[in-house]
Symmetry: C2
Subunit: 362 residues, 2 copies
């Protein structure tokens, strides 16, 4: 049961293969390896688990490997430079294919390294976390973090192919699985109410790591993402909606120092903040908010921002968000479950209130 | 006497304005500033000379300034990061326009910062050296150097407009002027024999900094570059010819530690090496080589690589060149003056000979 979707971007279109046990499939990988050199970028957690299996799929090419430390904390310019060092020490030429084997951090930093090395070499995403499979490996957003803001340095740069092997989720920590579900739920919230309802029916299967249910969730998530990216690759419009909960979430991640909160956890709390703000604006009903909260809770995700983060800190960290324009912070909000919009027009007091959401509200 | 050329790249087309005293022209600059924030990136040499004049052209926007140390030695990831720091400390939003005010180093690093900041903000080139005006500010190649190779980390990213004020050349050191002439001569060599002949007639005027002669040379150089870039933006084919002398030149720059040889000086020596190799292949005549050598000599440019750089060092530094493909180093060579080609098919002995060109050969 392998599913293939296309991200339609003209000459830069590419397939997403989703299946169980497809990591070692030469027939999916090698058609997208152009040169004779490959640099696999992975991390210390993933390498012992999946590197050898990936190697079996790489035939008739020189395979080099760069192993990064594990964690969002390492998604920075210094680690990026270490990838350039590795590429130049070989030295890898301009036809080299970079393969990102790992989660969102590996994919983002390896993709950005590929975007910049010799002004751009091809790269392939082999995501091994749910979050990476449903979100970060698709759509060509690459980046590293800066101490003053998440994903502030990066490029739009599309991969040649995405190979999402659901089998790799077997070794994923529960906390990472739950974090990935935040982005899955996001697609339902912003544009796919049927998918949201499906998730309400199938959350137990997802939490129990049922393969078919996971494949279905990854496929439906990727299909949503592929449609949005095809319509708006460089985030001039609709793609902004994919950032539901992310402005709040990035502030949480930046303020807590990257890594103490997982990205998906911060996004979950951020989506609740966006939902609460939307309710205050008269869009979402109390019942809608309860459904959202209920689904996030079943995925064992945080429903509130960290207690130690105060309003002034939120404001400061949100002021560098990429959606700030002419001094106005635009936020992704919800008309209803399945319909999101972007607005910079909300009462400041309502925003201040959601900064203060705490567990008593859950 | 202001000339305007267009670089034709579809939706990313942009004008090049060439004239004397146009640095403070709001009417040329402001139509290309979209947001309400501007970050001028310049260096410690240029800022005292031209920053205030540029400021007068920037109306109704917040102007921030990042002053870099001067020199190729500083075109690295560390200095790049300091630009991101400056942008985020403001903080500058995604509509911010980056303006590169300076020579090739400032243009390359500021352009790359613009390419990466928030995954891409608009930028404007205001080149103040001859080399930047005729070459590096046009065509969207941005980059920083790595200890193991020049321009190894970068992006293809086009500016909104290029404003080449010939008046800024008044304050240029002689050595920098001469270095710029190397790239001017290059256009004649690779594709414009009439321009090469014109340069033979007008070299005295150029060396004497005659304004009209300089404007003519900059315009003819930019027209050549714009045509090549329009036909092959991402260097899949014809654009490679612009690298005549650069593979040798980059090796000289990298081996000598960036900055002891100016880029144009290294390119001049590299073009002589390419010419000598072309003569050995039976393409260029002895007379052609003499004409090339004569013109470079009149521009007071080096005609040979540094004596301390041996064959092994050349080979090592050239092995990471971006034109290496499947282990073969492709070089830009000359059929005749005005006609270049790319080839990986040359006798190894002939290449070794040109590594050893020394002053006794001049």
């Amino acid at each position: 049961m392998t599913r293939t979707l296309m991200v339609e971007l003209g000459s830069r279109s590419y397939p997403i293969h989703i299946g169980s046990g497809i990591l070692g499939r030469s027939d999916m990988l090698m058609p997208h390896v152009g040169g004779r050199q490959v640099m696999v970028v992975t991390n210390e957690t993933i390498a012992p688990l999946y590197l050898e299996r990936l190697r079996t799929a790489l035939v008739n090419v020189d395979v080099h490997v760069k192993v990064l430390p594990d964690g969002e904390h390492y998604k920075n310019l210094e680690v990026l430079e270490s990838i350039f060092d590795a590429l130049l020490r070989v030295p890898c030429d301009r036809q080299t294919t970079v393969i990102a084997l790992g989660g969102g951090v590996v994919g983002d930093i390896a993709g950005f390294a590929a975007a910049c090395y010799q002004r751009g070499v091809p790269y392939i995403q082999v995501p091994t976390t749910l979050l990476a499979q449903v979100d970060s490996s698709v759509g060509g957003k690459t980046a590293v973090n800066h101490a003053l803001g998440k994903n502030m340095i990066g490029a739009f740069y599309q991969p040649e192919v995405v190979i999402a092997d659901i089998k790799t989720l077997d070794t994923l920590e529960d906390r990472q699985l739950h974090a990935g579900l935040a982005e899955v739920i996001k697609y339902g919230l912003i544009r796919d109410p049927e998918f949201f309802a499906w998730l309400e029916q199938h959350m137990d299967g997802l939490m129990g790591r049922d393969t078919r249910t996971l494949i279905e969730a990854v496929e439906r998530s990727c299909r949503n993402k592929a449609q949005v990216v095809a319509a708006d690759e460089r985030e001039q419009g609709e793609r902004t909606l994919l950032n539901l909960g992310h402005t709040f979430g990035h502030a949480i991640e930046t303020a807590t120092g990257y890594g103490s909160w997982l990205h998906g956890e911060a996004v979950a709390a951020g989506m609740m903040m966006a939902a609460e703000l939307s309710r205050r604006l008269g869009d979402l009903t109390t019942d809608d908010v309860s459904r959202i909260k209920g689904l996030l809770r079943r995925a064992q995700l945080p429903l509130n921002p960290p207690a130690e983060l105060n309003t002034a800190q939120f404001r400061r960290h949100m002021s560098v968000d990429k959606k700030v324009s002419a001094g106005v912070l635009r936020l992704v909000l919800l008309h209803t479950i399945g319909e999101a919009y972007v607005s910079g027009d909300y009462p400041p007091d309502a925003l201040t209130e959601v900064f203060s959401l705490r567990s008593e509200a859950t």
